[in-house]
């Protein structure tokens, strides 16, 4: 019997490896060749010299990194982080109550409400951004409305500034904030709140002390989904910033398509990747902390 069992186990082992090969092989190979290698090429380029008219001369140098430390580029990076942070914060403020509302709605309404929040996300990103060009225009609907109501005399400068860029980013990525927060609220269930109320906590206290801390993983996930794509975005600043508000994505695009300085563009891309990993590390930390709190509490 033991011999037969061993043989089965060996056969099983072989099968598992075969399965891994068939199932994971194609996808992982593709991932390696068309994701890891290209990012590797980019990293390699960042250590070489630019060619006079574009392209790369294979002479190792750290000059590109030195140049990136110029206050100019640090400034652009800082602007990008600031805009992305504000956009994330505003999205969070808008999304949390919405997620709370949906989570507390009757089960019949939850899915339709969620769908309504997500739908705009699945329509053309460019066209949604363009819609704000139409709305925020000095001669656009919002200014017409404000003037018609006699609230302002002169059209407000709504377009082509940091405000427009931030608004565009919030509009673009808001659904990505609502979803994970909703998911974590749903996981929490209504009982937690009831328990807290039984202990004579006010709804505000319940929200601050119980609901928000326990939905932290959702909040953090949502923040990443908004922050990371905002950080690298170049379309929104391009269309709504009028070339006056520049983010790191615009400079990377400029280096690749206009200045034709690929190595330097690669260095700037590295800065985005590093920031992304920092953010992901923060997320991992928060997740671990929440896990400890949850585990630590007696059930």
């Amino acid at each position: 019997m033991s011999v037969a069992a061993a043989r089965t186990r060996r056969a099983h082992g072989r099968r598992v490896w075969g399965q891994r090969f068939v199932l994971l092989g194609p996808g992982m190979t593709y991932w390696l060749v068309f994701f890891l290698v290209p990012v590797g090429v980019l990293i390699a380029y960042s250590f070489f010299r630019r060619g006079p008219y574009g392209g790369v001369i294979y002479e190792p140098t750290l000059k590109n990194y030195a140049r990136a430390l110029d206050p100019l580029y640090i400034g652009v990076l800082w602007t990008s982080v600031r805009i992305a942070t504000v956009a994330t914060a505003v999205s969070l403020l808008l999304a949390y109550p919405a997620a709370l509302f949906i989570a507390r709605a009757s089960s019949r309404w939850r899915v339709p409400l969620l769908v309504l929040v997500i739908l705009p996300f699945w329509t053309s990103f460019l066209i949604r951004t363009y819609a704000w060009m139409v709305l925020l225009n000095p001669a656009g609907l919002i200014n017409k409305l404000l003037q018609g109501l006699g609230l302002v005399d002169e059209p407000l400068p709504l377009l082509y500034n940091e405000f427009a860029v931030t608004l565009g980013l919030v509009y673009a990525y808001l659904p990505l904030m609502v979803l994970p927060i909703y998911a974590s609220l749903e996981r929490l269930g209504p009982q937690t709140g009831e328990a807290s109320a039984d202990l004579y906590a006010s709804p505000a206290q319940t929200l601050r002390k119980v609901t928000i801390p326990l939905t932290l993983p959702g909040i953090v996930a949502g923040c990443i989904f908004v922050f990371v794509p905002s950080l690298g975005n170049f379309i929104v600043p391009d269309l709504l910033g009028g070339g006056r508000t520049v983010m790191i994505g615009n400079v990377i695009q400029q280096q690749f398509l206009q200045a034709r300085d690929w190595p330097f563009g690669a260095v700037l891309a590295m800065s985005v990747i590093v920031l992304m990993f920092v953010v992901l590390a923060v997320q991992a930390q928060v997740l671990r902390r929440t896990q400890e709190v949850e585990d630590g509490r007696p059930a």
Partner: protein, 266 residues
């Protein structure tokens, strides 16, 4: 007190929906505006829709986008589904999951220039095929994530039962596993299709001279600010993508399930 709070939440929700849908509604209304100027109402007209039909570049761009999205969907659905089953069944590793998911998290511009550098280094001719290759990189990951949420509900004992009844692995996969996860696969495919057809940044960097896709064309139209034809395009795109995603949602969501994993996977 609780009632007041729920009322303020309701008002918030209402305002949020206004914020989300007002811009879309304005574009759709403007697409029927006879006036050239977006700010003046010149009466109802369908002229922009008629002009759109005659816009050869735009039609060619739509055709290119459909070709790209078609190939991308086919390839990433196959790769993504296999990946999902593989990750669910053979390797249970959070680290591997996170690492594999990177192409979906990394800012698109980084992926775009990485691939451009890579294609340039290998002297690839840029064209529709390079856009397809690039889109599969992240679409495959989305398909995998979506199929996995579906696999979570799948009871493996059914497969074991099939094997006990003498079905070979291929047969088991085709007759038992695939039908069970099919809604997830189709939803993944639809999401892959929508993402590919709307993808701009990566396509912009990795397209060749004559492989202008729909978003690239739309970008040029916005940059050149030509005519309200763009509003008509917007109205049609909005309507079509809303329909596609509604179908996708119906398919991922069998009765009685929680609302997790709606399209975008956390």
């Amino acid at each position: 007190m609780a009632a007041r709070r729920s009322r303020s939440l309701r008002v918030h929700m209402g305002l949020l929906f206004a914020f989300l849908y007002l811009p879309i509604a304005v574009l759709i209304v403007l697409s029927f505006n006879d006036s050239e100027l977006a700010t003046v109402w010149g009466g109802f007209s369908t002229r922009w829709y008629r002009e759109l039909v005659g816009n050869e570049e735009l039609i060619a761009a739509i055709r290119n986008s459909l070709i790209v999205a078609g190939f991308v969907t086919a390839i990433s659905t196959v790769l993504g589904t296999l990946l999902a089953i593989g990750l669910q069944r053979t390797v249970r590793s959070r680290v591997l999951d996170s690492v594999l998911f990177l192409p979906a998290v990394i800012p698109d511009i980084v992926l775009a220039i990485g691939l451009l550098s890579f294609f340039n280094l290998l002297r690839f001719t840029l064209g529709l095929h390079t856009i397809v290759i690039a889109h599969v990189v992240f679409d495959m990951i989305f398909v995998a994530a979506i199929v996995r949420t579906r696999l979570g509900y799948f009871d493996r004992r059914i497969e074991e039962a099939a094997a006990d009844l003498g079905a070979n692995p291929v047969k088991t996969f085709l007759l038992v596993t695939l039908p069970a996860i099919l809604p997830g696969v189709i939803a993944g495919a639809l999401v892959a299709f929508t993402l590919s057809i709307d993808e701009f940044v990566i396509a912009f960097f990795n397209s060749g001279p004559t492989s202008v896709t729909f978003p690239i064309r739309v970008y040029a139209m916005i940059r050149f600010g030509v005519t309200p034809v763009i509003n008509a395009v917007a109205a049609i795109v909005m309507t079509l993508s809303l329909l596609t995603i509604l179908i996708a949602l119906r398919l991922t969501r069998p009765k009685g399930e929680g609302a997790n994993g709606v399209g975008v996977t956390a």
